[in-house]
């Protein structure tokens, strides 16, 4: 709850801040796009965006028991709420990114997405309120359309504002905020549910619906401020170049390598976390509660650590080297889990740190290999591929465990990570001879090589 109030008060301040900037006056520092303070304000709103969107995304998980009880669902049905979000995004992110670049421009698109996802949260909540599962599924589906494209827009925004400055830090902060959103949601929604249950007097799907409504009410508010701020202050220098769909095939080879590294890395982290609990219980004789704790340490670590790592990457440059370090430590963590009986807290913490490091070093790299007018499409594509990879590998991982056990799964993940290593080497080799040498291999956060 503290979290909530803190945000609210912050918002209040920011609201006043922006109202002071009347049109046509000499811009105070806070409104001057080139000034650090201004970027900080933008950053705050961008963080809210991530916060809000993950807050909504994990709503069902936070209320899992209540959803299962009140709506008489089984676990498979419950998982559908997530499937309805994920699968459309395999395609939609890509088009989302393209629409940013080609049709709407980033401002209009963000606003559209915001309206979309906000209204669909209401659909979702209404579904719960009238006890119709399909309405909830529909809500999640439409939320998926808005939500994930919004993430693409968010990444593009980050690059627009922070490229050549604090980009890595910003990506780190965004990740951290997303995790914070999930966590706050996990902890607050149960409380909201109970509160509403007391007020209404009869727990049930009515209560569920109302709690979801409340949750929804709060997030869109954050988001609207966000977009308003952007409309007020971000003047977009439009270039004459426009992307065509066919440009995708002309994406530089380095971008494709980054895509593949992204997928290959993420599939070795998230599907494992999904299956991890049983592994910790059986192999390390953990209690279910301990297993859940060690499983979630990856997320818990990434919240505080990723901004710090982002800052370090900013200061040192050399994103590729950092990604490589992340890949090697991940490999070490997986090998520990696979081949030793060492306490999994070590391996999982290591995984948490390296995951954060990769997130804040890899995503900004895209900005340095594609021209600005293709950015949205590139990020959209990356997200699409990532979604596809995660969905497929999650299924494959389940099948591997069923047939060949966890050792095989870990070996499979190790192989995935190793192939990342190989790709990184090719990236380096390619970079070394290509014209991007300076840009990627030795980027300093401060050199404005971004033009």
């Amino acid at each position: 709850m503290d979290e909530y109030e803190e945000r609210q008060s912050l918002l209040g301040d920011e609201g006043e801040g922006s109202s002071t900037s009347g049109p046509g006056r000499a811009l105070p520092a806070i409104c001057d796009p080139s000034h650090l303070l201004h970027r900080v304000i933008v950053l705050v709103f961008m963080c809210f965006l991530g916060f809000g969107s993950y807050f909504c995304y994990d709503n069902p998980a936070a209320l899992q028991t209540q959803v299962l009880q009140d709506l008489n669902l089984n676990t498979a049905g419950f998982m559908q709420l997530y499937a309805w979000y994920s699968w459309p995004n395999v395609v939609l992110c890509f088009f989302g990114g393209f629409l940013i670049d080609r049709v709407f421009g980033i401002r209009l698109f963000s606003l559209l997405c915001l309206t979309f996802s906000t209204s669909t949260q209401i659909i979702f909540a209404t579904g719960a309120l009238v006890n119709r599962f399909w309405v909830m599924a529909l809500g999640r589906f439409v939320f998926g359309i808005g939500g994930e494209s919004l993430a693409v827009a968010q990444n593009t925004y980050a690059v627009n504002w922070f490229k050549g400055k604090e980009l890595n830090l910003v990506f780190g902060l965004q990740l951290s905020m997303a995790r914070l959103g999930s966590t706050v949601n996990m902890n607050i929604m149960g409380w909201v549910y109970n509160r509403v249950a007391v007020l209404v007097g009869s727990p049930g799907y009515t209560v569920l619906g109302i709690s979801l409504m409340i949750g929804k009410y709060y997030t869109p508010k954050v988001k609207t401020y966000n977009s308003a701020e952007k409309i007020l202050h971000k003047e977009q220098g439009k270039t004459g170049e426009v992307i065509k769909l066919t440009d995708v095939k002309d994406f530089p080879i380095t971008l494709w390598l980054i895509f593949i590294i992204c997928v290959g890395y993420y599939v070795a982290v998230f599907p494992f976390i999904g299956l991890g609990q049983v592994f910790f219980i059986e192999k390390f004789s953990f209690s279910p509660a301990e297993a859940r704790a060690v499983n979630s340490i990856v997320y818990i670590i990434s919240a505080p650590v990723s901004p710090v790592l982002g800052f370090i990457v900013d200061k040192t440059g050399r994103n590729v080297v950092w990604v490589m370090i992340a890949v090697v430590t991940t490999l070490a963590a997986h090998m520990m889990l696979a081949f030793t009986f060492w306490n999994p807290w070590i391996a999982m913490s290591l995984l948490g740190v390296s995951y954060s490091l990769l997130a804040c070093a890899l995503w900004p790299m895209v900005a340095f290999v594609v021209p600005e007018h293709q950015l949205g499409t590139a990020y959209g594509f990356m997200q699409s591929i990532q979604n596809l990879g995660l969905a497929l590998i999650a299924m494959a991982a389940g099948a591997i465990v069923d047939a060949k056990g966890y050792l095989m799964l870990e070996v499979f993940f190790c192989a995935c990570i190793c192939s990342q290593y190989f790709l990184l080497i090719s990236l380096c080799v390619y970079e070394n001879v290509g014209r991007w040498t300076l840009l990627i291999f030795r980027i300093k956060g401060t050199t404005s090589s971004a033009e």
Partner: protein, 411 residues
Amino acid sequence: MKGSCDSLTVNMAAEKKSSCRVFTLTFQVFVLGLSQSFYIGGEVNKRQLFVELNPGSTSVPPGGDLLHVRAVGNNDTLHFLFCSQGAPTLLLIHTNSSSSDIKVDWPLFLARNTSGSLKVEPESSTLYSTAVVFSRLLEYDDANDTADPNSDFFPPYELQDFTWSRLKLSGPVAVLCGAAATFANGSLCLQLSVFESEGRGQSLPHLLHSANSSQLGVWLDGVLPRATRSRFLLELQAVGGAYPLTRVDTSRSIDDEFTPSIFKVSQWVSSLNGSSEVLGFVQWKPVAYSQSNPTLEDATPCSHTNPRLQKGEMIMASSSLIHAFYTEPETFGLNVSFGLAGDPFYNSTKFLGWTMLVGIGSPPVDLFSPLVIAVMAVGLGTPMILLLLGVIWVSVHKRGTDSTTVYQPIN
């Protein structure tokens, strides 16, 4: 069951499987072959199996069958005797002659009051013997879902009082089913499989077996539990002459590829005056399954108590095979309990299946399958090699382009 003395010989000319005893890891990768697994420890031997039902009897013996499987090796014989007169019992006798046989004095055997009605011929060839008796099935009401079998026990089912079916034989596999009066349509079944060579169980938990061991599957199917939250335990007695099975070792392994999500294996072994040499064993993985065609989701963990010394007279009274063969049996008993706190109760599927191995010598040890080794070698090795090549390539390339800035000696 038709005749009593039908004896059949099971195909013994199994195709030759190359055995690999060179265990250099790098070498294995190239010798993947198609063999299921590698097996260290002892001979990779083969045995000829001769199956005989009620040996020497002229009529169908009342009260249950006696199955005799003679597993003949190059210079020794393993006699597997499986009997449902009284509590179901598996007796293993290891002899040092490939022509030894079993002699049953049927009138005495059926009278169940004298030892020595079942003998090995020649008697001096006996090296070692061990037996496992399935004595009781215990049931308790786990009302609080703690899976702690200490209280609320229902009266135990004495397996010697069950009505046992005739043995259903198919090759070296025998199935025996029995039921207590209150089981409704349910039954407790035991399946004995004897093997002529090394291999692995067809269904989960895919235990690795050698020609020196036999596999016993136990399942409890369709039994009406006495409470909705009932859980079960099985009481096992290990009977031996000189060296009974006294302790259970549980070892951990990083390898769960054959039994997914199970990283432990338990071995109930006989120790020879504290030395590490194992004469006989009962081996199992601590997992049972709640479906007859199990998948990973049907796994339910099981645990065991420490073996405790039992009174010999009790076991002689309950199993006629023990009474007939041993004069002064040394007996240790333990309970295997199925399910942990939070696991579904028996009532949810009304099926519980568990598998164990009974054999002589050291118990089989699972090794990494060639598949895992191959994936490791290709997955981890190739990138390393490429990395090395890459580094070399880059450094060569660099030297080519930066030839002007080569380091000069300082002085």
